[in-house]
């Protein structure tokens, strides 16, 4: 009789240990608004963050099953180590090596974005993934077919069950899952952030301080701190590429005032997100600075801020560049939670 009680107690103990480990593995995912930042644009109330939802999103983000021939995943063009940009590719390539018309931008702090894509054609974070998924030269796939493919995989049925309570896979759930991963891709730990927070690793050199001053004077009205974007569209004086003939926002709104306007990208981790601009025409940051300093092409919709040349000296340009490097956030670029999910799930 006594034995039985012992066996019972040991059983209970094992059960609790197992549950505890399960809980540790599935620790809740928290979205934190850094001090002094505005409220995010994304409405979390309709897609409550959970560990299971986040890990489902991570699995989907890295899975080429999202493309028609299972060759391309989101991560193919959005690599963590380079700020989720497509490093060294001016125009990104998709399925069967087909070349797109734009540079895959980095992903950083997307929960604060109002519009997505260089032309702002996507109006909500949750449906952003649909654009590359359905684009015939990117992933060339339909959401419906993805649902069918995922439904045949036991690991996905389990992952959806953990995330949504039952194993039904729907288009909405696929998109909500990916969104749970995306909204966590937040960078707020660069040297710049530490400087703002007066932390001890955040001491700026004279050069960096001077660069920040120049930045605030010449760049900050569009690349607004702390997100380093004002979430708006602007014509930044780039010559039209005659082969691409990309008029940006105009292709969405058909409003002449939007001609040649593109989304103002965040500059966070800019050190790693090269090449730059919507068509990746500049390989180096120095080329970008030269463009703004003396390469602006005037046209009807050119941003007001760029009407007058900046006329920076070589020294000032160097200082500005040194400041831009303080926007790199290694803790984001190497955050284990955002990397390829190796553990079996």
């Amino acid at each position: 009789m006594k034995h039985r009680i012992w066996i019972f107690l040991i059983g209970i103990f094992c059960l609790f240990t197992w549950l505890a480990f399960r809980c540790i593995k599935e620790e809740p995912v928290k979205f934190l608004i850094p001090k002094g930042w505005p409220k995010p644009h994304y409405d979390f109330s309709k897609n409550k963050l959970t560990a299971a939802g986040f890990s489902l999103g991570r699995k989907l983000f890295y899975d080429p099953v999202l493309s028609n021939d299972s060759s391309i995943s989101c991560a193919s063009c959005h690599l963590q180590a380079t700020g989720f940009a497509h490093v060294d590719h001016d125009l990104s390539h998709g399925i069967e090596g087909k070349i797109g018309t734009r540079n895959a931008p980095g992903i950083v702090n997307p929960a604060w974005n109002k519009f997505f894509m260089w032309d702002g054609g996507v109006n909500h974070l949750e449906v952003q993934a649909l654009a590359p998924i359905t684009n015939p030269i990117e992933m060339n796939e339909s959401l419906n077919h993805i649902v069918i493919k995922l439904s045949t995989q036991l690991s996905y049925r389990k992952a959806f069950k953990r995330a949504f309570g039952d194993s039904i896979i729907s288009g909405q759930r696929v998109l909500l899952g990916i969104s749970q991963f995306l909204v966590m891709l937040n960078s707020s730990n660069s040297k710049y952030d530490k400087y703002i927070r007066h932390e001890k690793d955040g001491k700026f050199s004279v050069q960096e301080l001077n660069g920040l001053k120049i930045f605030r004077k010449h760049c900050g009205s569009c690349h607004t701190e702390p997100l380093f974007t004002n979430n708006d569209f602007a014509n930044n004086g780039l010559k039209v590429d005659t082969s691409l003939k990309d008029y940006g926002r105009y292709s969405i709104t058909h409003n002449a005032n939007d001609s040649l306007k593109f989304k103002v990208p965040s500059l966070r981790n800019i050190e790693f997100t090269y090449p730059y601009m919507h068509d990746g025409r500049f390989k180096k940051l120095s080329e970008v600075l030269n463009h703004y300093n003396s390469g602006i092409k005037s046209s009807k919709t050119l941003a007001n801020e760029l009407q007058k040349p900046m006329q920076l000296t070589a020294e000032q340009k160097t200082d500005l560049l040194v400041f831009l490097l303080t926007l790199s956030d290694k803790s984001f670029l190497f955050d284990q939670r955002f990397s390829y999910p190796r553990e079996k799930s």
Binding site: H124, T134, G171
Partner: protein, 242 residues
């Protein structure tokens, strides 16, 4: 406790005085039952054509008595698809008993849904009625072939939508039912026809050799939407048996 009890009683009572309405849609072309792909039809411009795809959203269904309280269906989105007979029949439940004179609904999806991210049910973006590159719902789709179209495989494609500013394609429909009877715990049947010939005429006469691809919001989409706005008409009402 008392509140819970009274709510429960009220709930039971409310249920007793409610009935349902089954709506069945019959897609037709020039009055003849639509046969996809194989049956040739002639539009107002006298172009011969085949229909391959017809899909559209019906939303915000509302029943109005002459005077009194309207009934509005909650979460009212129905995607109908000529190729899926199940989608052509849907039930509206929990309608308070009474006589109703008009049925109103929209062809298409409201703008709020078009800016609300990933939604479920008939609004799930996997249903193929969602634009990815310029986000928003496609209100209605009509696709087919005609010799008049000098396009690949002589195809014509109309994906009609647009939710913002002057490009709003949502169409309001109001159908006179004369009188429709909703009785407690019983089902009333309403059959509607969807006359696809309307897409090609009234007020704008369409020439398939000119207009064969309308795939983005804008002026042409607005015209098409105005054309199809009156495609739904009442065919038959069957009141519950006494």
């Amino acid at each position: 406790m008392y509140v819970a009890f009274s709510v429960a009683v009220y709930g039971m009572k409310a249920q007793k005085n409610e009935g349902s309405l089954i709506i069945k849609i019959h897609p037709v072309f020039n009055g003849k039952a639509l046969k996809l792909t194989t049956e040739p039809y002639v539009n107002a411009h006298q172009d011969s054509l085949f229909i391959d795809v017809f899909k559209c959203y019906l939303s915000a269904l509302k029943l109005s008595p002459g005077n009194g309280v309207e009934f509005k269906e909650t979460k009212s989105y129905h995607l109908i698809n000529a190729d899926d007979s199940i989608s052509l029949v849907f039930v509206i439940k929990n309608i308070p008993e009474g006589n109703f004179k008009t049925l109103s609904f929209n062809i298409g999806v409201d703008s709020i849904s078009s800016v609300s991210g990933a939604l479920d049910g008939d609004l799930d973006p996997s249903k193929g009625m969602y634009w990815a590159w310029n986000t928003g719902y496609i209100d209605a789709k009509l696709m087919g072939r005609s010799k008049q179209c000098k396009t690949r495989q002589n195809s014509f494609e109309y994906h009609i939508g647009g939710y913002s500013g002057p490009n709003k394609t949502l169409q309001k429909v109001r159908l006179d039912l004369n009188i429709i009877n909703i009785e407690p715990n019983k089902t009333t049947h309403l059959e509607l026809k969807a006359e696809l010939a309307e897409w090609f005429n009234n007020p704008y006469l369409l020439d398939l050799s000119v207009t064969n691809a309308v795939l983005i919001p804008g002026k042409e989409a607005l015209r098409m939407a105005e054309n199809y706005a009156d495609m739904f008409q009442v065919l038959k009402i069957t009141s519950p048996k006494k």
